[in-house]
């Protein structure tokens, strides 16, 4: 009901002049705008009511002859209760609306295309699994859900696309993710929204939303190098990972075929699911998570691999799982 009420407001917003909202460029933008301008309406109504009540009282009950000695203030309990209950009810409504919208917006569809983002002082590296690597630019197809898996090489950054109404901190040492599905072609700003040092304001780029056809053409033209999986395979041999992680379980370490997404038992009794953060930690700090049934002999690769190389390795490990599943 309330969501319907806000529709005419939204229509009125897109007048030429000073715009009141960024272009709605993703599937979640309209929903966020409706809530935002509903809240704006609430703010407006309450502010105007309070201001005009004060103004009315201020004029009507001004100090003047015959109104110098007002009567004592009475406590009116029903009034106190009313103005406690009404704002509480409004808050409850906003809470339910905004939380359900947030839950909806948080879940990336399973069929999302994946792109990897690495923030570093002061630029953005964006990698497509097929190979193209971009700096401060991101090309994506229209109408396809895109999931960004993000990490930072140094301090906390934040990936923010106002047109898509999405934002998430980009943290060192772990992965965060957001997703979007673009609803119109064009170019949209993305920003770093967490202060990260001297050139913070320069950590800006553009998302280019293209038709799926144009995207294929762009991808074909850009994919001159290896794909992330190929790069990961190369690193896997180059850093000698393959001497211990053999496909047939004969190495000192576990076979990585099909390991992604499966639970692993640790010596300390914990059982952890193998996800991005698990793999990252296993590479950079293996001693913090010794596996049951294996000797803790793996050296740390902290400082030897940068975040992009770790992402390549991860893509490779994930592909091992996919190959096995295909073989079955």
């Amino acid at each position: 009901m309330l969501k319907v009420l806000t529709l005419p407001i939204l229509a009125a917003l897109d007048w030429p002049g000073i715009p009141l909202r960024p272009e709605p460029g993703s599937t979640i933008a309209e929903g966020v705008d409706k809530l935002h301008f509903f809240l704006t309406g609430i703010t407006f109504i309450f502010t105007v009511t309070i201001f005009s009540t004060i103004l009315y009282f201020a004029i009507k009950y001004r100090r003047r002859e015959g109104n110098l000695k007002p009567a004592a203030t009475k406590t009116i309990m029903w009034l106190e209760i009313t103005w406690t209950v009404i704002p509480s009810a409004i808050c409850a409504l906003i809470f339910v609306w905004s939380s359900s919208l947030y839950f909806e917006n948080s879940r990336a569809p399973n069929a999302s295309m994946e792109i990897f983002v690495v923030g570093k002082q002061w630029m953005w590296h964006l990698q497509h699994p097929e190979g193209p690597r971009e700096i401060n630019e991101l090309h994506v197809p229209l109408g396809v859900p895109v999931k960004l898996t993000m990490t930072s090489e140094d301090v906390i950054h934040d990936f923010y696309v106002p047109a898509f109404r999405i934002k998430k901190d980009v943290l060192p040492g772990r992965y965060t993710s957001i997703w979007f599905q673009a609803t119109q072609t064009g170019k949209f700003h993305f920003f770093c929204a967490q202060y990260c040092g001297m050139e913070h304001a320069g950590m800006i780029g553009w998302v280019y939303v293209m038709t799926p056809g144009d995207y294929e053409v762009w991808l074909a033209g850009g994919a001159k190098g290896e794909s992330m999986t190929q790069a990961g395979a190369r690193l896997f041999t180059q850093y000698g990972c393959d001497t211990c992680h053999k496909p047939d379980e004969t190495g000192k370490g576990p076979s990585l075929d099909g390991i992604f997404g499966k639970p692993q038992k640790l010596k300390d009794g914990r059982t952890l699911n193998v996800d991005e953060t698990f793999i990252r930690q296993a590479i950079t700090n293996p001693n913090s998570m010794p596996l049951e049934n294996y000797a803790p002999v793996m050296p740390t690769f902290q400082g030897q691999l940068n975040e992009e190389q770790i992402l390549d390795l991860m893509a490779y490990v994930k592909s091992l799982g996919a190959l096995e599943r295909k073989a079955k």
Binding site: H36, T47, A58, Y61, S98, P172, R174, A193, Q194
Partner: protein
């Protein structure tokens, strides 16, 4: 409140200001009123330092590419502005100046419970401020007032330690002031002054003190941990050393969100006093207003996670913090309604303190309501880290607290100095501050929704129009803040003699001479009435009478 037989002062010319002379008599004083003035001078200096940094920032942002300074310098400017304004102006403003001056007077005591500790807390404040000023002069600090790790602990190569140490040290000043107020309010109330006869300013001071004592140690230990990591490379926050970058934010906001209420609760206290005096009414719903202060103090410790909705914290944690944040909004709303209802059937005058207090209600209402956008998960995702946040907290901090501070300074100035200031000038300044403030910060709400991130030294051209509006407002605001500085200093020598109770206000502080004697009261007062007993007071003198012309009752 009426008191039994307060004898006229022994010699009306002797008061706390002229009881003795010389630097020693000020620097070694244990008189809460003199210490309040020491704080007043110190925080005024800090306010204008922080204000100068803000002025330079707004000048710089007139063009998208920046007009004035390099990005590195801009980053230092907003850091200095934040640190100085939050820790060295806002937090001590009302408690350390007005609270110090008024808490003993309002409860009918000779001084605070621990006068020497009170002086010590001013010295601690000065040492803390000294470290921070050193950090500025020795090259500045560029972490933002939030000191987020691992930037502050590993990557920044500016004066992080000196600035953080300044904040750490001045924290102890807060803790000691809070402790002093709590003990004083518990143990030293005049005979007959029960808890529910206390002016609401004292309830606000009490709630604030509880937050100061419980919250400040957390920021202190957090700063120590940052220093450990920075100096000794102990891995606490930096993942490269095995730390957790988000842990810092949990610790920081566990203090810094309640700190928002350290800043705004005292303002609510001031506004309650001023609204009552200038509408000649007891505050509507006195006990609701008193309890809402305590409710805010308690709930404020449970909402810190709403600063971290986009850090990747669990969406279920987000849900809890969201609902608690809505909950903390309710007591504030109750206060606004009660102040407004107090005006009903009052006899309302519009001297400067009242204009500031009414300005507070309006701007605080907007600040509070825009807080709902940020307690809402779905909208916070878009607004977090943008100018919307900047606008929101300036409506609370400047539109709220600074307005209330100005209301309080103007209301009690005759008590503090014994002199009246020119009310015409004061009203003009109040209106100018209101206009300048809105022009500065309203466009920032719009900038935020359009997506302009905060802490940007340069920005894309599409944001320029609103930035120019904001800078224009800031120039008005900057000038408006200088006007009171001039006429208040002028009034100390040339202002009209105020007399003990120029506003015919209730409250024990108005029952003694202006300025009060060093011991505050000739005899310990006895309280027999409720607070705000305006029914038994003469009416507010007319503006003309206050200015020294004409009949007091017209």
């Amino acid at each position: 409140m009426s008191t039994a037989a307060v004898a006229p002062p022994r010699d009306s010319r002797v008061n706390y200001l002229n009881a003795n002379y010389g630097f020693r008599s000020w620097l070694l004083t244990t008189d809460h009123k003199r210490i309040a003035l020491l704080y007043l001078m110190s925080i005024t200096v800090m306010f204008f330092i922080g204000g100068a940094a803000a002025t330079l920032m707004r000048l710089h942002l007139i063009t998208p590419g920046g007009t004035l300074v390099q990005p590195a310098t801009y980053n230092k400017l907003f850091t200095v502005h934040g640190i100085v304004m939050v820790f060295f102006f806002m937090i001590p403003s009302i408690p350390a100046v007005l609270g110090n001056f008024l808490v003993p007077l309002m409860i009918g005591a000779k001084d605070l419970a621990f006068p020497k500790i009170n002086l010590l807390s001013w010295y601690i404040y000065i040492v803390g401020a000294g470290f921070t000023l050193y950090a500025i002069l020795a090259g500045g600090v560029d972490t933002g007032w939030t000191f987020y790790t691992p930037y502050s602990s590993t990557y920044a190569n500016t004066q992080v330690i000196a600035a953080a140490l300044g904040v750490f040290i001045t924290g102890f000043s807060s803790i000691l002031t809070g402790l002093n107020f709590i003990v004083t309010i518990h143990k030293m109330r005049a005979p007959g002054l029960t808890w529910f006869r206390m002016p609401l300013f004292l309830w606000a001071m009490y709630a604030t003190s509880v937050i100061m004592v419980l919250g400040t140690p957390v920021i202190a230990i957090t700063i120590v941990l940052v220093a450990f990591e920075r100096l000794l490379h102990v891995g606490i926050f930096d993942p490269k050393l095995g730390g957790d970058p988000i842990l810092f934010q949990h610790l920081f906001w566990f203090y810094s969100h309640p700190a928002v209420y350290i800043m705004v609760l005292p303002g609510m206290g001031v506004v309650s006093e001023v609204i009552a005096a200038f509408s000649r009414k007891r505050i509507f719903g006195y006990s609701m207003v008193a309890f809402s202060s305590l409710a805010i103090a308690v709930i404020s410790f449970l909402v810190w996670g709403h600063h971290m909705f986009v850090t990747g914290q669990s969406i279920y944690a987000g849900l809890i913090f969201s609902v608690l944040s809505f909950l903390v909004a309710i007591p504030s709303a109750i206060k606004v309604f009660n102040w407004t209802a107090t005006l009903y059937k009052g006899s309302i005058s519009y001297q400067a303190p009242m204009l500031y207090a009414l300005g507070f209600i309006g701007l605080f209402t907007m600040g509070g309501l825009t807080g709902l956008f940020l307690a809402s998960l779905a909208t916070d995702v878009h607004l977090n880290g943008t100018y919307f946040i900047v606008a929101h907290f300036h409506y609370i901090m400047v539109g709220g607290t600074v307005m209330a501070y100005m209301a309080g300074i103007h209301f009690w100035w005759p008590k503090i100095t014994g002199r009246l200031y020119p009310d015409g000038w004061a009203r003009f300044a109040a209106l100018l501050i209101f206009v300048g403030f809105n022009l500065t910060f309203f466009p920032q709400f719009m900038l935020g929704y359009l997506g302009m991130p905060r802490r940007y030294a340069t920005y894309p051209a599409e944001f320029q129009v609103l930035n120019v509006m904001s800078s224009a407002g800031a120039s008005i605001l900057g000038i408006a803040y200088l006007i009171p500085l001039v006429y208040l200093i002028w009034s100390m020598r040339y202002g009209k003699i105020a007399g003990p109770n120029p506003w015919n206000a209730t409250g024990l502080e108005w029952k003694t001479a202006s300025p009060p004697i060093t011991e505050n009261f000739e005899e310990t007062p006895v309280v027999t009435e409720e607070a705000y007993d305006y029914v038994h007071m003469p009416p507010m003198p007319s503006s003309a009478a206050l200015a020294g012309e004409g009949d007091a009752n017209v």
